[in-house]
Point group: C2
Chain length 229, copies 2
C-alpha cells in the first residue's frame, strides 16, 4: 500500500487544465479538483470541468462561486466588451480578468490547507499566454513563496508547492502529452465565446491556438464548432 500525497488541481474545462490533472495523477497525487464560477459568459465550460473531473477520476470535484464579474473590466465577464477575433495584438489582451489567477490560487490554497495538502497544480502556460501577467513563471514563484508564509503548514515547515507543469510547453506539446495519458479532449472547451450548446467559434485567440495545436500534432481536432455563414 502506497501513501499517496494529496493535491488540489485547478480545472477550467479547458485543454490545459485537463492535461495538468492527468500529469498530477501520473505523478502519483490523489487529486481534488476545483473550478470557479466567476461570472464567465458561458456555463458550458463549468460543465466541461465537471465532466473532465469525472472521466479522469479525480478524488473530488468542487465548484466554487466567486463573482469577479461584479468588478467588470474584462471581455470574459463583461458582455459590453467584445472578444477580439483574428490575430492577437501586443500587450495585455482585453480577455484578461483582473487578478484572476491570484484569486483562484488563493482559494485553492484555502482548500489545500483544509485538506492537509501541500501541492497545488495549475495549467498556466507562458508560451501561449505571454500577455497575461498572472501566467508568468515569476508570478507562480511569487505565489509559492506567499503560500509558505500564508499557511499553517508553511509556518510549521512544510514546503507548499505550486506546480505549473505546462509552463514552458507549446499547445502541440501539451496535446501530445495529454493524448499519451488518455485525456479525452472532446470533453474540454477552450473557446472564449462558446454558444449555448458548447460549440466553439473557431475565431477567437483561444480557438486559433487550440486548432493549430491539433494540426501540428496531426491529431483530429475533436472540438465541435459553430456553423458560421
Amino acid at each position: 500500500m502506497t501513501n499517496q500525497a494529496t493535491a488540489v488541481v485547478l480545472l477550467s474545462g479547458g485543454l490545459d487544465s485537463a492535461t495538468t490533472l492527468a500529469l498530477a495523477q501520473r505523478d502519483g497525487f490523489v487529486c481534488h479538483a476545483i473550478a470557479f464560477d466567476y461570472g464567465q459568459r458561458h456555463r458550458f465550460e463549468l460543465e466541461a470541468a465537471a465532466r473532465v473531473a469525472q472521466q479522469q477520476q479525480a478524488a473530488s470535484f468542487r465548484l466554487m462561486a466567486i463573482n469577479l464579474a461584479a468588478f467588470g473590466h474584462s471581455a470574459l465577464t463583461d458582455t459590453a466588451i467584445a472578444v477580439p477575433e483574428g490575430e492577437s495584438g501586443a500587450g495585455i489582451p482585453v480577455t484578461y480578468v483582473p487578478a484572476r489567477n491570484t484569486v483562484f490560487l488563493s482559494l485553492a490554497l484555502a482548500f489545500a490547507e483544509t485538506l492537509g495538502a501541500n501541492d497545488i497544480f495549475i495549467g498556466v502556460n507562458s508560451q501561449d499566454y505571454s500577455g497575461y501577467p498572472d501566467c508568468r513563471p515569476d508570478f507562480i514563484q511569487a505565489f509559492e513563496r506567499l503560500a509558505r508564509l500564508a499557511t499553517r503548514a508553511g509556518v510549521e515547515g512544510a514546503a507548499m508547492r505550486i506546480h505549473a507543469p505546462l509552463q514552458y510547453q507549446s499547445k502541440a506539446e501539451i496535446i501530445r502529452l495529454g493524448s499519451s495519458l488518455g485525456v479525452d479532449y472532446g470533453l474540454t472547451r477552450s473557446c472564449y465565446q462558446l454558444d449555448e450548446r458548447g460549440r466553439a467559434c473557431g475565431l477567437c485567440d483561444s480557438c486559433r491556438l487550440r486548432a493549430a495545436g491539433f494540426a501540428a500534432v496531426g491529431i483530429p481536432d475533436p472540438t465541435p464548432y459553430q456553423d458560421r455563414p
Copy 2:
C-alpha cells in the same frame, strides 16, 4: 483641486479595520471599502462594516460573498468547533480561517485593478494576532511582491502597495489613534460569538483584547455586552 489617489480598504466590522480606514482617509486617499461575507457565524459584523463605511464616508462600500465555510476547519465558520474562552494558548488558534487574508487580499487586488488603484489597506496587526500566519509582516511583504507581478499596473511599472498601518501597534495605541481621528467604535464589533442583536460575549480572545485596550487608554468601552448568568 487636488488629484487624490484611490485606495481599496478591507473592512471587517471590527475596530482595527475602522481605524485603518480613518488612517487611509487622513493620508488623503479616496477609499473604496470592501467586506467579505465568507460564511462567518454571524451577520452582524457585516452590518457593522456597512455602518462604518457610511459613517466614515467611504467613497463606496461593497460586500462580496465568498463561501470559505465550504472548506470548513475553523471555529469562525464551523459551528461544530467551539470558540475558546479565557486565556489564549500557544500556536495557531482554532479561530484561524485557512488562507483567509490571502483570499481577501486577492479579491481586494482584483477590485483595485478595476478601479485603477495601486493601494490596498488592511488592518492586520502582528502584536495581538501573532498566532495567525497571514497577519505577519513577512506575509504582507510577500503579497505586495506578488501584487506587482500579478497585475497589469504592476507589469506596466506601477508600485502596487499593501498598507498595514496597524502592523506594530498595540490595541491601546490603535484605539487612541482612531479616537483622535473621530472613529465611532460603538459601531464596530470584534467578538467571535456575537449574539443576534450584535452584543459581544466579553469572554473570547477578541473581546478580551478589545476591552483591555479601552481600559488601557482610559476611554469608556462602547461595546454592548450580553448579559451572562
